[in-house]
């Protein structure tokens, strides 16, 4: 799959993403400056993490108005593949390409730590190299990753199978409901799993055609055994092979 990475001012995980994509595909992704509008020839558009425009008004709000976004929307409309990670996920929701919004983390602090994600379906181009129900490790590094949508939207996402990934314990158990502030019982790893307080422990979602994935944690930072794990690599292997 031919991939391009969109770079907004303030994005800072574009290099991590390029390394992960190149490692799996052998091809250097095209770097796309946010004022470019030509996405022709690309199968996959990746919006990486960072603090686009400083995330000053709301995370991703300004980037969602950038010239490249019209082209990204058109790319989505023609059935192109899009991966938005962290700030990229926030930008996709701000642009209305994915539903819901990412609020401040429940504990109002930046969270930088490993988390475990449970794969909710493995029949998509993103998760083909994982098993359904499998959990894998990823790095989270965000201040605003608390997924929110109204109940009707959440029910629709669940009903249509559009929840891609959920925060889970290493054993794959999913905490229910939001975590009460500052009141996590010690040793309860399941309850600890959803640290940012996301609705229904949602870490990532798809569009109905399953071709756009937005997720908060960073699979691209765990693709090399030297960094402690290669749990994120199957995602990029699957994209490279598709």
């Amino acid at each position: 799959m031919k991939a391009g990475i969109v770079v907004f001012p303030g994005i800072n995980r574009e290099r991590d993403m390029a390394i992960a994509l190149e490692q799996s595909s052998g091809a250097k992704p095209r770097m796309i400056w946010h004022q470019e509008t030509d996405l022709s020839g690309l199968d996959l558009v990746v919006i990486p993490g960072g603090f686009s425009f400083g995330d000053y008004l709301r995370c991703g709000a300004m980037a969602a108005q950038s010239p490249v976004m019209a082209s990204i929307r058109a790319h989505a409309d023609r059935g192109g593949y899009i991966l938005g990670v962290c700030n990229g996920f926030q930008i996709l929701t701000e642009a209305g390409i994915l539903p819901g919004a990412l609020l401040r983390n429940a504990a109002l602090r930046f969270l930088s730590m490993d988390c475990h994600l449970r794969v909710e379906r493995s029949d998509t181009v993103f998760t083909a190299r994982y098993q359904k129900g499998q959990t894998f490790r990823a790095v989270m590094a965000h201040g605003d990753g608390n997924y929110f949508a109204d109940d009707a939207t959440l029910d629709r996402l669940e009903g249509q199978g559009l929840v891609a990934l959920r925060y889970a314990s290493p054993q794959g158990n999913i905490p229910l409901g939001n975590i009460p502030l500052g009141n996590i019982p010690q040793g309860d790893v399941t309850k600890d799993a959803n640290r940012n307080g996301s609705a229904r422990s949602i870490a990532g979602i798809y569009t109905p055609n399953l071709r756009v994935l937005g997720l908060m944690p960073h699979p691209e930072d765990l693709v090399d055994p030297l960094m402690g794990s290669t749990d994120g690599k199957p995602l990029f292997d699957a994209l490279a092979a598709a």
Partner: protein, 734 residues
Amino acid sequence: MQKEVNQSLAREFGLSAEEYGKVLEIMGRTPSLTELGVFSVMWSEHCSYKSSRVWLRQLPTKAPWVIHGPGENAGVVDIGDGLAAIFKMESHNHPSFIEPYQGAATGVGGILRDVFTMGARPIANLNALRFGSPNHPRTRRIVDGVVRGIGGYGNCVGVPTVGGEINFHPAYDGNPLVNAMTVGIAPKDRIFLSAAAGIGNPVVYVGSKTGRDGIHGATMASAEFGADSEEKRPTVQVGDPFTEKLLIEACLELMATDAIVAIQDMGAAGLTSSSVEMAAKGGVGIELDLNMVPARETGMTAYEFMLSESQERMLMVLRPDRESVARAIFEKWDLDFAIIGHITDTGRIVVRHNGVVEADIPLAPLNDEAPLYTRPTTETPKGEKLNPARVESRVGLASALQTLVGCPDLCSRAWVWDQYDSTVGGQTVKRPGAADAAVVKLEGLKRALALTTDCTPRYCAADPETGGRQAVAEAWRNLTAVGARPLAITDNLNFGNPEKPEIMGQFAAAIRGMAAACEALDFPVVSGNVSLYNETERRAILPTPAIGGLGVLDDAAQAVGLALPPWLDIVLIGATTGWLGQSLWLREIAGREDGAPPPVDLVAERTNGDFVRAQILAGHVRACHDVSDGGILVALAEMAMASGIGLRISTHPRDIPGHAYWFGEDQARYLLAVPDSIAMVKAAEAAGVPALRIAVSGGQDLTLPDGSTISVQALRDSHERFFPAWMDGETKKD
């Protein structure tokens, strides 16, 4: 109306009568307000190092791998593969007390600029933090703000924060220390320096606009004041990490061309120090037109332009034919770009505003005649060596261990690290807490850097010379413990009022100790920063010469961490005498802060460390941890907690009391987890290194030498309790 310039105004600006006399002599007339401002900041302690310079000269600064030592924006060392590491540590203590979030954030921003100014892409941030007693009512708020500020800035610019240290002591109640360190990488033949050159070349201002931020208190009180002066003159600078990120990318993009002749960031004393230093270093003159400076506010005076400390700004001298290339890059990144002057052959700095010459100063005397003081010193009285047999222990090993691993100075820092993005860049091999030093791989290469910050202020207070030696030795040891070859250090010397002989004595002795250690360990100082006058209500902080160490691993895969694997032998390297003086056991368990600190035998330090490194690189070591605060038992517990694997610990030699043996803080020691302890001990003996098998790993409990048992989980519970519980208390009380 502007105030009249005279000796009393000069005093308000911080210049002594003698210093003002020198100004009059150099100028041959009464200086203008702007000129007085320039002299006062250039001759301030911060810019001129007038109290510390005579002592700093004692520090070794050279080695075959040192490319640039002190004197540039940051130190530069050769790390192989045609690359250089560029690094420095700098303090932002006072601003962090006034406004913890912005103080810490702008501290990170400032040190980042010192590093990317030289052409390096920043790849890691570290910090060294000292706070007051956890029981002091202000401490919690300061810790919270500083941690948020460091995270807020570092996370946004996308530079991983990979390491650091935190101590608490009542001596920092009114004066926390925030020392920030940045490490960057550049091709070693593409280092950018600050010496201006090329008569007629344009002087270019890039970055954020200038406002009235940070024009310091003393000068604030003297300039013209209107009714809205309060609102007009914020003394706290506000950081904008987004602009900094753009500035990094734009500067690195420009540095890939041949446009830049010289470049310097605008740090303390902003436009003044950057323009003066660039011109003086190049032996040229400089002319500035302040009407060309991008301003955020209207009606700013020449004095305000020259002294503003607005953040995220840089000054460059460009090749005239490359101006349009440079302009296009900065416009692409939406940053201000303005030609504000040019280089001259006059040897003077001339500043014009609204067509009027506001300053015209000869640069050579401004630099060369800067004050230099050899202030009087008195020696710190030395404490007595404690006899371990005479220090009674009323607490069993298990209980003392549990208390120690949970005390503020030793407890888990996860609450802090979890707020710092430590993985951005995708090259972090050893994250905070995983090893004695952070390990960051170089993109696309096998090579990695090991990084650490260290200082034990309570040793420095008891014996500044030993404390200075120990700080350097511990940094060297921590790099060694991951398998790295230590290369060089940056230092951040935090002390009290240098006009007091006892403080200057601490300073001189600490330098003496550091110099000896640097010399013995081939570990030169390549950059640094001095922060004096750290006092509140006349009470000084503990002397704190914080050391930032940098080492290199040829292959990142050889790095070892401290997490204990099961079914291995633990070998103690180094001699144990049971040294309890100034130990944490003495303070936390016996409630005493006395005695002489452990001596640092630099020969043993070198021999033991070189042995350990060789064993790691030969692949004989699965985990390694140096023995420092809390002694052997705490170090063993830290290894166990990192993996969840337990230990069965042997009995100790009979001639040393148990608590002294297990909690004493003798130096130059390491714990190695090895599959073959017999071979390891034999190899150590051959190298003349003391070695002893003291434990076996496995299970989920620590079985202690006195027969008692404590589970790793119970230790972890104590270890992890303090920070979240203490910080959570903030929303409940206060």
